[in-house]
Amino acid sequence: MSVATGTDPIGVKHSGAQPRVERDWANAILNGYVMVFFAVMFLPLLFMIAAAFNASPTPSITDWQGFTLRWFRELPNDQRMIQGLWHSLIIAAGVIVISIPLGLSGAFILTRMRSRGSSLLYTVLVSPVLVPGIILGVTTMIFWRDFFGVQAGLFTAMAAQSSFIASYCMLMFMARLQRQDRVLEEAALDLGASPVMVFRRITLPFLMPTILTACVIAFLQSIENYNTTFFAIGGSWTLVTEIGSRMRFGLSPMINAIGVIFVAITIIVAVTHTVVTRKRA
């Protein structure tokens, strides 16, 4: 190799590209890794979906007894499941209604009113994310029962979930607010807008995409939550806690059918969200 390698006749340096053989190897390894990654992620899901259409009375894909929609048809007749789904949706709606305003106000306090107490307040407000879900569930249940005489049920489940979901929302709102150009609010104020109008016309539209995202995340977090809900809900149940308790008595492919519906809903919500936010941007 000569000393001049990497420099062409007019003295311009090459951008340091790797030799072709090495690059091929790197690509092969990367491709292999990506394939394994996706297999680990999605193969169980595919098996789960396939088992939902198998006529075998226990979930299986190896013991294929023919294609059927029976498990989907049986689903509406299972009153406990339907009731659980209904509970899940009520709780999720409540969690959104509680978490968005709480998260938003926390984010405003932490980004706008910086003081010596800010970092302490931040730690306190974020801590529910770090506390194990069981503890959140149990403490919420006890707190409401002992201090307010509220029996464990849908409301306590809602409160317990909101305690950590609101923190997630707050973190998202903080990230957005930190990127805001405060001069816009000053400009609006200077043009005669009241603080309420500044919030309604300037700050809120700026936050809207994040509010939308936070709603979706809060909804998904709430629907799929098991441990916090299980300990806070008392005698009531959600779809997820119901599935959990049935695990003890052996599985029915009906649970796979529910899984298929959930996967479908998740994909639809995610795609809709992407489309909507892309239109706004």
Partner: protein, 370 residues
Amino acid sequence: MRGQDVFLDGVKMTYPNGFTAVHETELMINAGEFFSILGSSGCGKTTILRMISGFLDPTAGAISIGGVKMNGIGPNRRPTALIFQNLALFPLMPVWENVAFGLEARGVPKAKRRQRAEELLELVALYGQADKMPTELSGGQRQRVAVARALAVEPAVLLLDEPLSALDLKLRQHMRAELKEIQRKTSVTFIYITHDQGEALAMSDRVAVMNEGRIEQVATADEIYNRPQTPFTATFVGEQNVFTGKVTSAVGNEVAVETRHGTLYGVNRNDLAVGDEALVMVRPERIGLLNGEAGDPEKMVQLNTLSARLQRRDLEGALINLYLTAGENDIHVNMHNTGDEASFADEMKLAFRHRDTVIMRPGSIARDRA
């Protein structure tokens, strides 16, 4: 729209960290005037602007607009409108809603708002752009939207915080003329903050030069340039060749200063007395070359002369810059390109009129010019 006067009565601003951005200031800005505050960054000019617009409360003194004290009145209830340095157009609203925002805040119905926005857009030569988003406009167009938006609230005082600094030179010069024209049409009081002396001198009825929280001089542009009152103003606005010396005679309105380069004469505007330390200043374009035949005896009497050695000659097209040294003084001479190339010798005799020579007591000199 009718402009109102702005009066700063002993206004002072000290920030909580103890830094005094503006020292006690008296300033009267007349109604309908195009007034500029010129100074380098950190001199306190933006603080003054934010106090007038109501975003900052002065720690002492009072600001009156149209004779009404503004203490405790928020920015949304003052008869002022501010054009921000980065314009601060609302990115999520179309142009017309931006322009009509102030009217929306005042509860004007939508159809009326739209109509008024169209009128204002016409005033700033943006007719037909009402439904575009701000990001779809060019820099100069966005600039004009900001002006229209500020004018929509019919302010008595329009405050402009270096609004042209983001534009390129050509556009900036064009916008200067437009702003001046809009000011003339509307007769609103314009208070223009800038670090660019070209802008300040070209547009303003009067200019205030600021340095380290104090106003050094308030005067017309000609006055500031030709008859600066402080060494800072003299050196911050335009360029100066500065010599130091001691006053040897002060008779009538003429003062003579003994310098290393001989005695230099000028008009005694600053009441200097014999024995005072003095700065002698002359602008590069006021210095001429003295060659053999320039001997009109009557004019000779009024000329200061100086020998200098030519170091460098830069041709700038219509102008020629000569860089010379006389002893340890660097001298810059700026002359018209007359095509007479032979006139530049190594050793040259320079001359400048007494009346172009500014003489004053020493003081702080601008380190970087506007």
